[in-house]
Amino acid sequence: MNGGGAPSGIGGRTPSSSPLAGSGRASGRGQAHSGIGSSVRRPDGPAKVRGEFSYAGDLAAEGMLIGDTLRSPHPHARITRIDLTAARALPGVHAVLTADDVPGDLHVGLTLRDEPVLADRVVRYAGEPVAVVAAVDAATARRALRAIEVDYEPLPALTDPELARDADPVHPDGNVYRHVAYSCGDPDARGVVTVENTYRIGMQDPAFLAPEAGLAWPTPDGGVALDVATQWLHSDQRQIGWATGLPPEKVHLRLAGVGGAFGGREDVTLQVHACLLALATGRPVKVEYTREESFLAHRQRHPGSIWLRHSADADGRIVSVEGRVLLDGGAYASTSPVVITNTVTLLQGPYRVDNGRFEGWSVRTNNPSCGAMRGFGVPQAAFAHEAQLDALASALGLDPVEIRLRNALQRGDVATFGQRFDAPTPVREVIEGVARLPLPEGPARKAPGGVGRSAEGGTVRRGIGYAVSIKNLAFSEGHVDESTAEVSLCDGHATVHTACAEVGQGFVTVAEQVARTVLGASTVEVTQPDTLVASAGSTSASRQTMASGTAVHRACLAVRDRLLGRLARAHGLDAAELTIADGVVCAAGKPLTSVAAAAPGQTFRATEHFQHPDTFPLGSPEARMYVGFGFSAQRAVVDVDVELGLVTVVQIASCQDVGTVVNPTQLLGQIEGGIVQGMGLALMEEVVVIDGRITNPDLQDYLIPTIVDAPEIVSTYVTDPEPGMPHGWKGVGEPPLVTAVPVVAAAVRAATGLPLPAVPIRPEHIALGIGAPPTVTWTTPRPPDPSRPPGVVVDEEPDAALGTMAEEGAPPGP
């Protein structure tokens, strides 16, 4: 089976691109087998299956030194003394650096520049880098770390986010990253029933399988180069520039092979350190984290608590929603000021809500810093709003599917945050799509407890749950979302160059498909991303097909026009009559020449930029916070051993709004991978932080799903093309995860009858019945007060610090 494998070739769990939505159009019609809509293989695949693909951890250079990091053992302490004498005197040690050795600006950060590259007299989380060393080998580097003498005066650690707002500031910038508060309509409107509860979400680690690594070396221009596994080359470049004092043109980054990212590589970790060490030693320096360091160094998903109160009429229609969110951002800002708006504004879920009041804080503590992780604040919201919908349904005696259909957002509706849903909004369609999928047949293949064989002799109960989600796609609130592509074509061979980080998601395949489809290229090379081309933004927010894919598409169109223009002149034809299909140029439908032979030896080039229409902060008159939205519905079937509290997820059925199917196999990979990560958060993944310290920084006690845990996944799609996007494509990477968290919880609730207001659900929550049920109150209906002003009312100005990056012209957070 080759690249052209039709969707039906992929076993039984095949994506169908059948347009469930009325306006859907068939994808891939008339395309070459290698073009958009077909399961083209990954161009980097052969090297990967052979074990020859080079990852950041595989980097090496002649004369290279090994860098290592001394980290704070305390969550909060003053550094009273650092003595580097012994470490510097060790043979084989080439550099030992602390904050005093940072030539440029000490502080970096994705949104607020509040994080010292190396601790500045105070450490604010356990694991914060205090010093870095470069030595001839790893053992010597470790010895040097041990030889560094640091005296700490421990300070009281702020580890309870509930106390952060009132506690003494643990950073000069204060303890609140951002406070968001707004209302719409009349939040005090009531139907016949209200349900309210407080939901808790644990800290999830991206746990990409290749720990952080990079290799830096000084360059002849007095600058520095870095090959690194990252999600965002230009953001790293800027922050390295700040710390080294080098101008951007002297900081040269290239993408090294990335072994997964999921948000965890959006902030810098070792990037700046490696460059500082290379500059200090004049030698190449490699830094590679252990798994334990990886847990300490990168950002986790925000843990948080969410209080929600829904009021509905007797038909289950939502009358009002009130919500309050507290996210623990940990010691430094990272993207905390942005994540909180996602959580707060999407508390409404994919449902129409005319009346609401929402508030949220992301706060600073001395816990590990949190930032981007796939879903970016929305899994937290989805877990809470979906539990509420089920609680409403149960109070009113409604079917969970029915209550969701009754409230489903439609195109034209206005969000609580004022934005009109002016693109396809197929919420109803994804719900109906998933409800139609067949339930698993026959006896369960696996019992809860798995290889432990604990279920035999006990009773297992089955539960079925539904969940639907809304996820904003691309950057938001005025953070510019853009990318640039350079494309060239010579003798049928296309070269595509962007700064888009391939982290496993398959952008390289999409870029190749676009070049084949638009240019009729017979071979395509997607070159190593670097900072020689303009920023592609981060590989996050489900945005790269939309941003970099569209930039590549535009550049390919420009190259095609150049080629066709030249052919038209050569043959005395009208360029408008010329088309390219399957590698052949046709004039008025008749083959003229192959693309490969069209202009021997001639290279056609174009560089094109793409930028989404502007977005604006919450409460702006433009009422456009987000670029777009993706919707997803899932149904989970679980078997629960209630007495022991153990769960096996039997099946997850998914129907997702995907715009168009660009590559069926890769799409399915995103859906399945996202679902299993979401299921991990629902059932087992939790970074445990006790007194500010991570107690499970390893893959023994931080549990990610194994192949035995993975459910059967059935996936279908709604293909309603996204306006303004080539082929109508849209981001698909995050929604599967977002929906999987609430759907697994819903199914476990259905099996057990327990409220389960927290994820991950621990066995003891089930076995011992831990967790408070929602409060259900029957109310006298109170219609919305017509004198309330329409639209969004921002109750309090968002924290002024939020806009700093955008104002400085720096690239925004996602």
Partner: protein
């Protein structure tokens, strides 16, 4: 090939191994390494050299001698997934991962002496004895009492565990463990059972600082097996006998509860097998 370095020995006989150990007082014994290597990585343990048992052929394999299974201490857990003892088989089959089981040895599991290790409850329930060998000879001690605290045993500095002996299985035996995912997990708690001629014997993993069993539990279980007592009675006996840890993986209350549940289930299975 016999390799010798100041910090590394790869002996081929038990005698050579004992000598190598005597020559390197700061070295530690390594069998499969699946316990030792992560411990070194995580700085849980320090050492100044290895004496590897990997090439000591005499330590590998199972024989039957005088009504006992004699399992060489160096026998990999993978080989035990087909053991004649159903309890051992079950405990071995759920140990670690397929890639770990080929290396992990029964000896390493026993000497690791951690209360949550898979094979320990099985050996306790099965009435295992251990062959401990030093330069002066071999002594045989009951497994019951061998583990004195988490990670501590009655093995002397100059001794090797050379074999584990179990009575040739006659009746029913089984093992089950509970964890937070469905494969590749450390036991939150575990229970092993044997049932011979109507007499039930149970042992618990992670129910206290060492592998644990209690006469009162066996009495209640034997009564339940014979339908002379209720599941409630047995659960109460288990709850009274165990003293499980409270940690970030589970509360002591959950462990106590789960031990009771698992125990009743294993007795139910024994009844099913007897029926």
């Amino acid at each position: 090939m016999l390799l010798a370095a100041p910090c590394f020995a790869l002996p081929e006989t038990v005698g050579e191994a004992l000598t190598a150990l005597a020559d390197r007082p700061d070295a530690i014994v390594v069998a499969g390494g699946t316990e030792v290597m992560p411990d070194l990585l995580w700085r849980n343990r320090r050492a100044a050299g290895f004496v590897s048992l990997r090439r000591v052929g005499a330590l590998r394999g199972t024989t039957t001698v005088g009504g006992e299974l004699v399992i060489g201490a160096g026998t990999p857990v993978a080989a035990l997934t087909g053991a004649p003892d159903a309890g051992l088989r079950a405990a071995a089959s759920s140990l670690g991962t397929p890639l770990v089981r080929t290396e992990a040895t029964i000896g390493g599991n026993v000497v690791s002496a951690l209360p949550y290790r898979n094979l320990l409850p099985t050996l306790l329930a099965g009435g295992a004895t251990l062959e401990l060998t030093s330069a002066t000879g071999t002594r045989v001690v009951p497994f019951d009492g061998f583990v004195t605290a988490p990670g501590r045993t009655r093995l002397a500095e100059d001794e090797l565990l050379t074999a584990v002996r179990l009575p040739v299985p006659t009746g029913f035996a089984d093992y089950a463990k509970v964890g937070r995912r469905n494969a590749q997990f450390v036991a939150t708690v575990s229970v092993a059972i044997t049932c011979r001629d109507g007499a039930v014997r149970l042992a618990f993993g992670n129910a206290g600082p060492t592998p644990l069993r209690a006469d009162a539990v066996d009495t209640a279980a034997t009564a339940l097996f014979a339908h002379r007592a209720t599941a409630e009675d047995l659960r109460a006996a288990v709850a009274a006998a165990v003293d499980p840890p409270e940690d970030t993986i589970a509360s002591a209350a959950y462990r106590r509860h789960a031990l009771g549940v698992l125990t009743v289930r294993l007795v139910t299975r024994a009844q099913g097998a007897a029926a």
